[in-house]
Symmetry: C2
Subunit: 469 residues, 2 copies
C-alpha cells in the first residue's frame, strides 16, 4: 500500500456482493474473510491524509496505530488513514516509529497549512506554539484533534469560535482521562442531561502516589521518589502533585458539562503534597480512602469547580479506582450515577482516544459538517468559600480541662456542626480528630482561624474535605 501514502485523490471502490459470494470476498485482488469487507460495500473508500504535530510518546503512538491498523479501520469505516506529515523539533532524534522519507519535517506550519494534509493531530502540548498552529490549521479548513489540556482549558473559547467559523471540528477527547471517552459522553450523550455534579480522579501521577501510600503505609516523599523513578511522575512534579493538571481538566469538564466557559483560573487547586501517612491512616479508620478529586458542581445558575484531596467512602465506586487509573463519576438529574473508568495517560490509551476523534472528525468533514459548539459565555463561578463540604480535622492540643469545651464552642459560634470528636494521646501532645457535618467552607475557615488563636490549640494539623456517601 506504499503508493497510497502520497495519494492526492481519494480512492473510490465499491462492490455489490451476492449471497453466492458471501463465503468469499475479493477486495483489491486479495481474498479476505467474511466480515472485513463490510464497510466497503456500496461505500466510498476515502484516503485521508493526517498531519501530526509532535512525535513523542503520544504522537508516535498515534502514528503507530495508524500504521498497524489502517487496513482494518478502512474495512470497518471506509476511511483509509495515512500519515503524510509529522512535524518535530529535532529531525535526528530517535523515534519509536519508522517513517517514510519526506514525512518528517521541522515545519509545523507545513502541517497546519499544507495541501498534503487533510486533518491535524496536535500532540505538542503547552499553550504556544500549539495555539497558533491550531488556529492556523482550523482557519485553513483542517479539523484538529488534540490531547492538549492546557490549550483547551485556557484557550477553549477562542478555539471553539475559530472551529465554528471554519466549519470544522475541534476534538479533544484525549485531553481529559486519556483513553476514557468522557468528552464524547458529555458533549453528545449527556448534552440534554441536567448534570448536577462531576467527581473526577483525573491525574494518574497523584492517584499512583496516593494508592501506594494507602496500600503500603509509606510517606509522601518516599512514594513520590519511587513514582519518579518508575516514570509515573516528572522530574518537576509540580503540575501533577499541586493539582494544576487536574485543575485544567476540571475546567474542561465543567465547560463541556454546562455549556459555559470555565478556565483554570476559575478553579481552586490544592494538591497532595501535604497529605501525610497519618491522614491516610485516619481515613482508613473512618473507612474512607484519600483521593485527589476534581469536583464540578452546579447550583442554580452558579458553577463551582475545585481540585483538592478528599476522603472518599470505601463503598463509593471511586474508592476502588487505584494505581494510575482515572475515573469520572457523573451525577445527572435523569440518568442518576454514571462512572467512566480507564487508563488516563500513556501513549497508546491517549492515542486511542485521538484515533476515535480523527474518525469522527473525518466522518463530518466528508459531509461538510462539524459538531457545534455555539459561543460559550463565561460561567458564573461560585468561589470555594461559598461551597459546602463535610470535613476531617486534626488539631494538636494541650490535654487539659476545658480544651474540648473551648474547641467545641468555637465551632458552635460559627454554626459548624460536629459529627464526631476523638481525642488521642495525652499531656502536652494530644490530638483531636473531628469530623464536621457538611458546612459552608467560609464558616469552616473562620472556625479554623479562631481555633489557631486558642491557647490550648498548638496547631491545626490536618484539614481535609470528606465526600458524602
Amino acid at each position: 500500500m506504499q503508493g497510497s501514502l502520497f495519494a492526492a485523490r481519494p480512492m473510490r471502490t465499491s462492490w455489490r456482493l451476492t449471497s453466492a459470494e458471501s463465503t468469499l470476498r475479493i477486495a483489491k485482488g486479495r481474498i479476505v474473510s467474511p466480515g472485513t469487507v463490510s464497510a466497503m460495500q456500496g461505500q466510498d473508500l476515502s484516503t485521508v491524509r493526517v498531519g501530526v504535530l509532535g512525535c513523542g510518546n503520544v504522537g508516535a503512538s498515534v502514528v503507530s496505530i495508524i500504521q498497524a491498523d489502517a487496513d482494518s479501520i478502512a474495512a470497518k469505516t471506509g476511511i483509509k488513514l495515512v500519515v503524510t506529515k509529522v512535524a518535530v523539533r529535532n529531525l535526528s532524534a530517535d523515534r519509536a516509529v519508522a517513517l517514510p522519507d519526506g514525512v518528517l519535517t521541522r515545519d509545523a506550519h507545513a502541517v497546519a497549512n499544507g495541501s498534503d494534509v487533510d486533518i491535524v493531530v496536535e500532540t505538542i502540548g503547552g499553550i504556544e506554539p500549539a495555539r497558533q498552529i491550531t488556529l492556523a490549521a482550523l482557519k485553513s479548513g483542517k479539523p484538529v484533534v488534540t490531547a492538549n489540556k492546557e490549550l483547551v482549558a485556557n484557550c477553549g473559547a477562542e478555539l471553539f469560535e475559530a472551529a465554528t467559523a471554519a466549519g470544522v471540528d475541534l476534538h479533544f477527547e484525549a485531553a481529559v482521562g486519556g483513553g476514557i471517552p468522557i468528552m464524547r459522553a458529555l458533549r453528545k450523550s449527556l448534552v440534554g442531561e441536567r448534570i448536577n455534579k462531576i467527581l473526577g480522579i483525573v491525574n494518574g501521577t497523584t492517584n499512583f502516589i496516593l494508592t501506594k501510600m494507602t496500600e503500603e503505609g509509606a510517606g509522601y516523599a518516599d512514594v513520590l521518589a519511587e513514582a519518579q523513578a518508575l516514570g509515573f511522575a516528572e522530574a518537576d512534579p509540580t503540575a501533577d502533585v499541586e493539582g494544576h493538571d487536574a485543575g485544567a481538566k476540571a475546567a474542561i469538564m465543567a465547560t463541556i458539562a454546562f455549556g459555559q466557559s470555565v478556565v483554570p483560573g476559575d478553579v481552586f487547586q490544592e494538591g497532595i503534597s501535604q497529605v501525610s501517612a497519618s491522614d491516610i491512616e485516619a481515613a482508613r479508620r473512618l473507612e474512607h480512602v484519600i483521593k485527589l478529586l476534581a469536583i464540578v458542581e452546579r447550583t442554580d445558575d452558579e458553577v463551582a469547580v475545585r481540585v483538592h484531596p478528599a476522603m472518599v467512602p470505601i463503598t463509593h465506586p471511586l474508592a476502588a479506582v487505584r494505581d494510575s487509573f482515572n475515573a469520572v463519576f457523573v451525577e445527572g438529574e435523569a440518568v442518576g450515577e454514571l462512572m467512566f473508568y480507564g487508563r488516563g495517560a500513556g501513549g497508546f490509551p491517549t492515542a486511542s482516544a485521538m484515533i476515535g476523534d480523527l474518525l469522527s472528525a473525518i466522518s463530518n468533514l466528508k459531509r461538510s459538517t462539524a459538531s457545534p459548539f455555539g459561543t460559550l459565555e463565561a460561567a458564573k463561578m461560585r468561589p470555594i468559600d461559598q461551597t459546602s463540604s463535610a470535613f476531617y480535622l486534626k488539631l494538636e492540643v494541650q490535654d487539659r480541662p476545658g480544651v474540648l469545651a473551648a474547641v467545641s464552642s468555637v465551632f458552635g459560634k460559627h454554626g459548624v456542626s460536629i459529627r464526631s470528636m476523638e481525642q488521642h494521646g495525652a499531656g502536652d501532645s494530644a490530638s483531636l480528630v473531628l469530623i464536621i457535618h457538611r458546612a459552608l467552607e467560609s464558616d469552616v475557615q473562620a472556625t479554623l482561624r479562631e481555633l489557631r488563636e486558642l491557647e490550648s490549640v498548638q496547631s491545626v494539623g490536618s484539614v481535609m474535605r470528606v465526600i458524602g456517601d
Copy 2:
C-alpha cells in the same frame, strides 16, 4: 410557550451581542442570566416534533424530560423538542404525564408516517409491531430512537439497512445498559480500536439477586421472590434470570464492537437459576464474587459470545458493581481497560439515553446526514465448546481410598490441568472442590461426562466458569 407545540415552521432567532450587553441577555422578550443564551447566538433555534410510541415507564419518562427541560435543552443546543404525538394501546389508561389534547392517539402509523412528526421514539418493546412501525418510520425519512434490545438484536441488520437506505439515523443507546452511553462509545469513540474482549453486567434483575445472595447469604428462590415483590423482577422472570435479556444485549455489543452481525441465536445463554448459596459461599472463600456476565471475545477472525454466571475476582472492577447497577468492561488493544458503569434500567436513566440519541439524530437530520452503518456481514461465530475458561467444580464423592486418584486421572486424560483440589466432609458424603486452570470448554465437558460415570462420583454439584485476574 404553548403555541409552539404545533409549530410547523422552525423558529429562527439570532442576536449579535456586544460586550456591553454581556451581563444582560434578552431572549424572546425574557431576561435570562449569562450562559443560558449561549447556543442561541448566531444559531437557528429549530423546533423538532417528536412522536413517541408507547407511554409506559420509559415513554412517559421521555415525555416528562422533554416537558421539564425543553427550554434548557434549547438554550444549550438550539433544538427545541416538542412532543406532538404519543401512540398508546389504551387511550383511557392512567399516565404518569399530562398531555395536551390531540397528542394521544391509538394510531402508531400516524406517528411513523405523520406529517406532524419529525423523529420517532420507540418504547413499545418486543419484535412486532415495533419492527414494522420502525421500518415505516425510517422509510418515511424519520430517524428512530429505540430502547428495544429484542428488536435491535434480532432485526438489527434489516433495520440498519433501512436506515442507511433512508439516510436517517437509527439510535439504540438505551437498548444496552440503560443510561450508560456504551453504544456511542463502541460506535464512535472506539470504532478504530481493536477490541479484544467485553465483559458486561447488563441485567439489573440478576445483579440485584446475586448481590443480595452474596451480601445476605440468602438462597436463590427467596431472593427472587423478594426481587419480584420490590419490582426488580417480573412475575415471569425467565427472560432476565435465564440470561435471555443479557444475551440480546451481548449480541448487540458484539455486533457494534466488531462491525459484524451477531444475533441472539448465536449467543450461548445460561442463567442464574442454578446458582446456590453454597456456590456464593465457595466464591467468597476463593475471594471471588458471582456475577452473570455477558462475554464477547474476538480471536483471529472468529467471534465468541456467551452469557453465564461466572466467578469474578474481588479485585476486578466488575466485582464492585452491585445491586441493580450495570457495567460494561472493555479491553482494547490500544486503549487497554475501560469500564462504563451506571443504572442499567429504570424510566429516567433509560429516557436520558434516548434524549441524548434524539439530539444526536436531530443534529444529523438538520444537516441531512446520518451515522453510517455499512452493511454488516454475519460474524463467524466460535461456539462455546471452542472457547477457554478457568473453572470451579464441586463434585459429590464417596470418601474412600483411590477417589482422588481416579478423579485426577480423568482430568489428566483430557488434558485439563487442576490448579487446586480440596476435599470437604467425609464418609459417604464428601465433596471435592476443584479449580481448573484455563481449559478448552469441550475438554472440560468431556471430563465432566466421564466423571459422572465414575462409581465414586455421586454427582457433579456445581460447574462455574472463573474469570482470570
